[in-house]
């Protein structure tokens, strides 16, 4: 009886720890939340109705939230190897997905980093001509 307990207890504990690890909820929402916040940030960048000061304030607020959300996604073990189109697309382009960290890495403003990813630079804008459709 003692022998079997001696064997059952560690195995049981091991199984429980494995089950706890397996049962840890996968936060599929981290990516969706981050993308929602990024959409707000881009919306603030593109909003032509607001003043530059308002834009600056909105961008800074969104950026502070986004920096945490980006870290949550990058630290989310539940996303590792999750082979869904959503996750694949997110990790296919680091610079576009993790906008705040990528812009800090390149010493660029978030708006500039985003526009650069889209192929729009100050030079290309200055060189553009107004035309008609």
């Amino acid at each position: 009886m003692r022998t079997s307990l001696r064997l059952i207890l560690p195995i049981g504990a091991m199984i429980v720890s494995t089950m706890i690890a397996a049962a840890t909820p996968v936060h599929a929402g981290t990516l969706a939340n981050m993308e929602r916040e990024r959409a707000h940030l881009i919306d603030a960048i593109l909003d032509a109705e607001i003043t530059p000061a308002d834009r600056q304030a909105r961008v800074e607020t969104a950026q502070r939230r986004l920096i945490d959300l980006e870290r949550m996604v990058l630290r989310d073990d539940g996303l590792v190897g999750r082979n869904t189109p959503h996750v694949r697309r997110a990790f296919a382009n680091y610079d576009l997905t993790f906008l705040v960290h990528a812009s800090a890495e390149k010493n660029l403003a978030v708006a500039d980093a985003w526009l650069e990813q889209l192929g729009i630079s100050t030079q290309s804008l200055l060189a553009a001509k107004v035309g008609r459709h």
Partner: protein, 291 residues
């Protein structure tokens, strides 16, 4: 005195006959003794060291293990009977000695049968274990092959993203959170506290004496290697059983030769005591014709 000897021999024979009947009774139980281990997901996830212990424990609880233990106990008793008989033979002579030698041979035959039965049970154990380990290895390999090229590409992208992120954490903090008016976020604060706790726990786990990695001959091994080693050990067990079978064959042959020798000896004695006159040639009959 002669009556006493006959009584002893009869009592001994009855005891032996009872022993033989007990053996045949357990034979049916032996046939039903099985062990059916299941390669469950839990077992697949267990560390290699615990996998072996868990498997051994599962076997120890099975009907097959109980049958092997029973066979062992019976063999012990039978060996004792053989010893007793041998000692009795040394102290006896005449008819009783012949009778006891006959009983010794019968008991030896039954001992060999018991050994064969135990060997069969052990073989069943080894074969089941081998089959189980094969199934387990296949299951683990299936899990490993779930890594498709697209998934592998995703994992690589995620790893490089994490590396890049680690390199830019400080810069991002400086760029976004450097202003004195901007407080550190609740997430960042709590994350730092939790990270310290996690690192502390990881260090404790790494130092834990039970957290030793599975090794094969003092070399660290992964789970597949460990299972393959277990398979090789089981195969070795089966090979040893084959060898033991030939030993049993030799034992059986020796018993048969002893039986022939005893039979010949008894027949010689019978012939010597016979009242039938010896056939003689014409030369012996001369006395009837010569005056």
């Amino acid at each position: 005195m002669r009556f006493n000897k006959r009584l002893t021999a009869t009592a001994l024979a009855l005891c032996l006959a009872h022993g033989s009947m007990a053996i045949y009774g357990t034979a049916a139980a032996t046939e039903a003794a099985t062990w059916r281990p299941v390669a469950s997901e839990k077992l697949v996830k267990l560390p290699a060291n615990y996998l072996k212990k868990s498997l051994d424990h599962d076997f120890a609880k099975s009907a097959l293990a109980a049958a092997i233990t029973d066979a062992d106990a019976e063999l012990g008793l039978k060996g004792q009977t053989l010893d007793d008989l041998r000692m009795a033979i040394e102290q006896s002579n005449g008819e009783l000695a012949v009778e006891l030698r006959h009983q010794l041979l019968t008991q030896k035959r039954e001992f060999i049968q018991l050994m064969q039965r135990k060997s069969e049970l052990r073989r069943r154990h080894m074969q089941t274990r081998q089959k189980f380990l094969e199934g387990l290895l296949n299951k683990i390999n299936q899990d490993a092959t779930k890594m498709t090229p697209v998934r592998a590409q995703l994992v690589t992208a995620q790893e490089s993203a994490r590396e890049r992120f680690q390199g830019s954490v400080g810069k991002a903090d400086l760029a976004v959170l450097s202003a004195p008016a901007v407080p550190e976020s609740k997430y960042a604060r709590q994350y730092a506290i939790n990270l310290a706790a996690v690192e502390n726990l990881i260090t404790t786990i790494e130092r834990h004496p039970m957290n030793t990695h599975s090794t094969m001959r003092d070399t660290p091994a992964n789970k597949q290697d460990f299972i393959r080693q277990m398979q090789a050990d089981t195969q070795a067990g089966l090979a040893i059983l084959d060898q033991e079978r030939s030993i049993l064959g030799f034992m059986a042959k020796l018993v048969a030769l002893d039986a022939m020798a005893l039979s010949e000896q008894v027949m010689d004695a019978d012939l010597a005591d016979s009242d039938i006159p010896r056939t003689s040639g014409p030369a012996d009959a001369i006395k009837y014709f010569v005056n």
